[in-house]
C-alpha cells in the first residue's frame, strides 16, 4: 500500500510539473543532414531579419526526420522536416495514420554529388558510371559473362585509371545521398555495362535485376560512411588511394584537401548541375505540417523566406554556399504562399 501511495504521489508531482510546459514560440525543424547547412543559414538570417526567434534545426537523416514528422500533430512534434529525397508513399500513409494529413512539399533546389580524392593522391580525374559499377558491384561483366567481381585495381577494367587498389567511401544506407548514388551511378553503370541485360537473360525478373543492380560489394573495397562528409574526408585524408562521395558544397569548401573527378566527362559545378548536364544530382526538399501554420508563430514566414529569390535564388546565400537553385522556384513560391498541400491536384 505504501508503494502505491508513493507511486501516485510521484506521478502527481510529475503531472504538475508537466503543466509548466508553455506554448512553443519557435519553429522546430529536423531531418536530413545534407539540408542542415542550408537550413542553418536560413534560420540564422531569419532570426536576424524578423522579430521571430531563431528556428531550431536538428539533423539525423531524412528517414529519421520524416518519421518524427509523421509522429503526429501538436506543439511537441516538429513543424518542418528537411529531406534529401522525396517523401515515399509509405511515409505519407504512416503520416495519415497519425493525423498528419495536410503536408506541403517544398523543393528548395538541387545538390550535386561529386567523386573526390586526396589532392596529392593518385590521378582519379575522370569516371563514368560504368567505372564505378565495375569497381563496386558484387557481380560484373567480364568477357561477356556475369561473374563475381574479380577487380582489385582500377586499372583492371579501365587502362586510363591508375593502378591503385579499389577503395571507395560511399554514403551509408540511411543517407538520402545513397539513393542518388545507387540510382544515378551504380544502376546506370549496371545498364551501361550490360550487366542488367545479362541478369534478365539469366532468368531474373526485371524487379529483381533492378534490385541486384543497386547492390555494392561487401569485401571491404566499398566502405559505408554512416556519419557525415567530414568522416569521409578524414578517411580520404588517411587513405591516399581512396575515393569518396561528397556534396558539391562540401567539396567546394575543401578544395585545398580534395580534387574532384569528372563524371562522364562533365565536371561538376553549379552551372552543369542546374542545366542538368552533370548526371549525378538530386533535389532537396522540406515538408511543412499545414496544421501548424497559424499555430506556431513564424512558420509561414520561415517557409516563404526560405524559398524567396533573395535566399534560394541564384544570387542568394544558399547558392553562394553551394546549393544549385531551382529554375522553377517561382512555382514553389506560389505553392507555399497559397498553402497548397500534396495530393490536392498539381
Amino acid at each position: 500500500m505504501f508503494y502505491v501511495k508513493l507511486l501516485t504521489s510521484t506521478l502527481a508531482s510529475i503531472a504538475l510539473s508537466a503543466t509548466l510546459a508553455s506554448a512553443r514560440d519557435n519553429v522546430q525543424v529536423a531531418g536530413s543532414s545534407t539540408v542542415l547547412p542550408y537550413a542553418s543559414i536560413v534560420a540564422e538570417i531569419f532570426g536576424e531579419n524578423f522579430d521571430f526567434p531563431t528556428p531550431v534545426v536538428e539533423s539525423g537523416g531524412s528517414s529519421a526526420g520524416l518519421k518524427r514528422f509523421c509522429a503526429g500533430v501538436g506543439e511537441n512534434t516538429i513543424d518542418i522536416t528537411n529531406a534529401s529525397r522525396a517523401i515515399r508513399a509509405k511515409e505519407i500513409k504512416a503520416c495519415a495514420e497519425n493525423g498528419v494529413t495536410d503536408i506541403i512539399e517544398v523543393r528548395i533546389g538541387y545538390d550535386g554529388i561529386v567523386f573526390a580524392s586526396q589532392i596529392d593522391g593518385p590521378k582519379y580525374d575522370a569516371f563514368t558510371p560504368s567505372d564505378i559499377f565495375n569497381a563496386l558491384a558484387p557481380k560484373v561483366m567480364v568477357g561477356g559473362k556475369l561473374v563475381d567481381n574479380p577487380h582489385q585495381k582500377w586499372s583492371d577494367f579501365n587502362g586510363d585509371l591508375p593502378s591503385e587498389e579499389i577503395l571507395a567511401f560511399i554514403p551509408g544506407t540511411k543517407h538520402g545521398t545513397r539513393e542518388v548514388f545507387e540510382e544515378k551511378v551504380v544502376a546506370a553503370g549496371c545498364e551501361a555495362t550490360g550487366a542488367f541485360q545479362a541478369m534478365m537473360d539469366a532468368g531474373m525478373s526485371e524487379d529483381d535485376a533492378e534490385d541486384a543492380c543497386f547492390e555494392v560489394r561487401t569485401d571491404g573495397k566499398s566502405v559505408d560512411i554512416d556519419g557525415d562528409y567530414t568522416e569521409a574526408l578524414a578517411r580520404i585524408d588517411a587513405n591516399a588511394s581512396g575515393i569518396g562521395v561528397f556534396g558539391l558544397a562540401f567539396y567546394e569548401n575543401n578544395t585545398d584537401k580534395l580534387k574532384v573527378a569528372t563524371m562522364s566527362g562533365i565536371s561538376p559545378s553549379t552551372e552543369t548541375i542546374s542545366t542538368g548536364t552533370y548526371p549525378v544530382s538530386r533535389p532537396l526538399f522540406f515538408y511543412i505540417k499545414k496544421a501548424h501554420i497559424g499555430v506556431i508563430p513564424g512558420l509561414q514566414e520561415y517557409a516563404d523566406f526560405f524559398i524567396s529569390n533573395e535566399i534560394a535564388g541564384p544570387d542568394g546565400p544558399l547558392a553562394q554556399y553551394g546549393l544549385v537553385s531551382d529554375p522553377e522556384l517561382a512555382k514553389t513560391q506560389a505553392a507555399v504562399s497559397s498553402g497548397k498541400t500534396m495530393g490536392s491536384g498539381s
Binding site: 510546459a21 508553455s22 531563431t54 531550431v56 534545426v57 578544395t255 533573395e310
Partner: protein
C-alpha cells in the same frame, strides 16, 4: 623430507649472510621488474595525457583569436529606411557597408582600383551585426561609427596560416589570389587585424556560412542550466535513497533486487536513457523538445546510480562506533544518521555527486534523441523560460561544429573542448575544496 637428521652437505646452497641466494635474487628482480612496469604504465599514461592536452591547446587556441576588419562607416537615414523596407534587410545593410568600405580603401590609394566583389570576399557575414546595432541605436544613424567586423573564413585561415596562397585554385569562388594581396595591404594599413575573440565566449551558434561569428556562450549557459537541474533533482533523491537503503531498509530479497538493479543501471549505455527520455518525457508527458529541463531530467536518470553507489559507499565508510555512540546516549536512529553519520559522509557524497555531474556534463548521446543536438542559435529570453525553451549544450555544440565543412568551425570545436575542460576543471576544484572543508579524520 621425512628424514630429520640431514647434514650441511644435503643443502644445495649453504645459507650465508654475505652471499645473496639465487631465490632471493629472483624475488628482488621480480620486484624491480614490477616497479618498472608500474613506472612505464604511469609514463605511458602521462605521455598520452601530454599529447592530448598539447593537441587540444594547439588546435583550440586559435579559436580565441579572430580576424576583424575595422573601418569607419556612416549609414544615412534614407539607407536605413530602405534597408528596413527590404525582405532580406541584412543583405542591404551589408551591401551599403561593402560599398562604403570599397570607396574608403580606394581613397587610401593602397593598390590599383579594387572592386567591391573583392571586399565582399574579404569580409564575413556582417549584415546581422549591422542591423542589430542600428535597430538598437537609431540615434547613431547618420553618424560615422568605427565597426570591428569579422573577416571571411578564408581570410581568417590565411591569417592563422592554415590556408596558403598556393592552394587557391582558379575555380575557387570564395577567394582569389589578388584578394590576398589586398588583405596584406589592408593588414599593413591596420584595417585588418587580429584581436581576442570575445564573441567566441559570449556568442551563439551561427549558420554554416558564418564561422567567424559563432560563439559557445549559449551552449555554456545551456550546460549550466542542465547541471542545475541534475543537481536539484539527483542530489536529494540520490542521498535519500541511499540513506534509506543503507541505514533503514531491512535486508531482504527486495532490497537485494533493488541493489542489483542500481548497479546495473550505472552500467547502462547513456543512449538508452536518451531513448527513455524521448519516449517518456517528450512523447508521453509532452515536455518541450531541445529544452535543458528535459536534458537535465534525462541526465539525472543517468547520474542517480552513480550518486547512490558513491553515497552508500561513503555511508558505509563511517565507523559503526559513531552510530553506536549516538544510539547509546539516547539518539533515535534518524538523529544518529542525520546528526552524526551524514555530516561525516558528506565529503564522499559531494565528491561522488560532482563526479556524476562531470560525467553528465560531457554526455552527448542522450541529448541527441531529445533534440538538443542541432542548430540552436539564441539565448533564452528569461531565466525560467530558458529551462523549458530550446537551448544547446556544450558537448552537443562541439559535436555539431566538428561535423561542419568549414575548417574554422573545426577550430571552434577544439576551442569548445578547451571551454568544456575548463568547466570540468572548475567543477573538480569545487569538489576538492568542499572535501577539504568537510573532511574529518579519526
Amino acid at each position: 623430507m621425512t628424514d630429520a637428521n640431514f647434514t650441511d652437505k644435503d643443502i644445495p646452497n649453504p645459507r650465508s649472510l654475505t652471499k645473496t641466494e639465487r631465490r632471493t635474487k629472483r624475488r628482488k628482480a621480480a620486484e624491480k621488474r614490477f616497479r618498472a612496469y608500474g613506472l612505464t604504465a604511469i609514463l605511458a599514461g602521462l605521455t598520452f595525457l601530454v599529447i592530448l592536452v598539447y593537441s587540444i591547446i594547439l588546435n583550440g587556441l586559435p579559436a580565441f583569436q579572430r580576424t576583424v576588419v575595422s573601418i569607419e562607416f556612416t549609414l544615412s537615414a534614407e539607407q536605413f529606411k530602405e534597408a528596413e523596407a527590404a525582405l532580406l534587410k541584412t543583405r542591404v545593410y551589408s551591401n551599403y557597408f561593402i560599398t562604403s568600405f570599397t570607396d574608403t580603401v580606394n581613397g587610401l590609394g593602397l593598390s590599383s582600383e579594387i572592386s567591391s566583389d573583392s571586399i565582399d570576399r574579404i569580409v564575413g557575414k556582417i549584415g546581422g551585426t549591422l542591423r542589430k546595432f542600428y535597430r538598437n541605436n537609431q540615434d547613431k544613424v547618420g553618424q560615422p561609427i568605427t565597426f570591428d567586423l569579422p573577416a571571411s573564413s578564408l581570410v581568417e585561415r590565411y591569417f592563422k596560416e592554415t590556408f596558403s596562397r598556393e592552394s587557391i585554385s582558379e575555380s575557387n569562388r570564395f577567394i582569389r589570389a589578388e584578394d590576398l594581396d589586398l588583405v596584406d595591404a589592408l593588414a599593413d594599413a591596420g584595417i585588418i587585424r587580429q584581436e581576442f575573440n570575445w564573441l567566441f565566449i559570449t556568442g551563439v551558434d551561427t549558420g554554416v556560412d558564418n564561422p567567424g561569428g559563432a560563439g559557445i556562450g549559449a551552449a555554456v549557459l545551456g550546460s549550466f542550466m542542465m547541471m542545475t537541474v541534475v543537481l536539484i533533482l539527483s542530489l536529494p533523491v540520490g542521498v535519500a535513497a541511499s540513506i534509506y537503503l543503507e541505514e533503514f531498509a531491512p535486508k531482504n530479497w527486495f532490497t537485494d533486487f533493488i541493489e542489483i538493479n542500481i548497479s546495473n543501471l550505472a552500467a547502462v549505455p547513456s543512449i538508452v536513457f536518451g531513448i527513455l527520455g524521448l519516449a517518456v518525457f517528450i512523447q508521453f508527458m509532452h515536455f518541450p523538445q531541445s529544452a535543458p529541463l528535459v536534458g537535465g531530467m534525462v541526465l539525472t536518470l543517468m547520474t542517480l546510480p552513480t550518486i547512490i553507489i558513491s553515497t552508500r559507499a561513503s555511508l558505509k565508510a563511517v565507523p559503526p562506533s559513531i552510530r553506536d555512540a549516538a544510539l547509546a546516549v539516547g539518539a533515535s536512529k534518524m538523529q544518529a544518521v542525520f546528526h552524526h553519520v551524514l555530516p561525516l559522509a558528506m565529503p564522499g557524497i559531494l565528491t561522488g555527486t560532482i563526479i556524476g555531474l562531470a560525467q553528465a556534463l560531457g554526455e552527448t548521446a542522450p541529448l541527441l534523441l531529445i533534440g538538443m543536438v542541432g542548430f540552436v542559435a539564441r539565448y533564452p529570453e528569461t531565466i525560467l523560460g530558458g529551462f523549458e525553451g530550446p537551448n544547446s549544450a556544450l558537448p552537443a555544440q562541439i559535436f555539431n561544429w566538428a561535423s561542419r565543412s568549414d575548417a574554422v568551425f573545426v577550430e571552434k570545436a577544439w576551442g569548445g573542448i578547451i571551454i568544456l575542460l575548463i568547466f570540468l576543471l572548475s567543477m573538480n576544484i569545487v569538489a576538492v575544496l568542499l572535501r577539504r572543508r568537510f573532511e574529518r579524520r579519526w
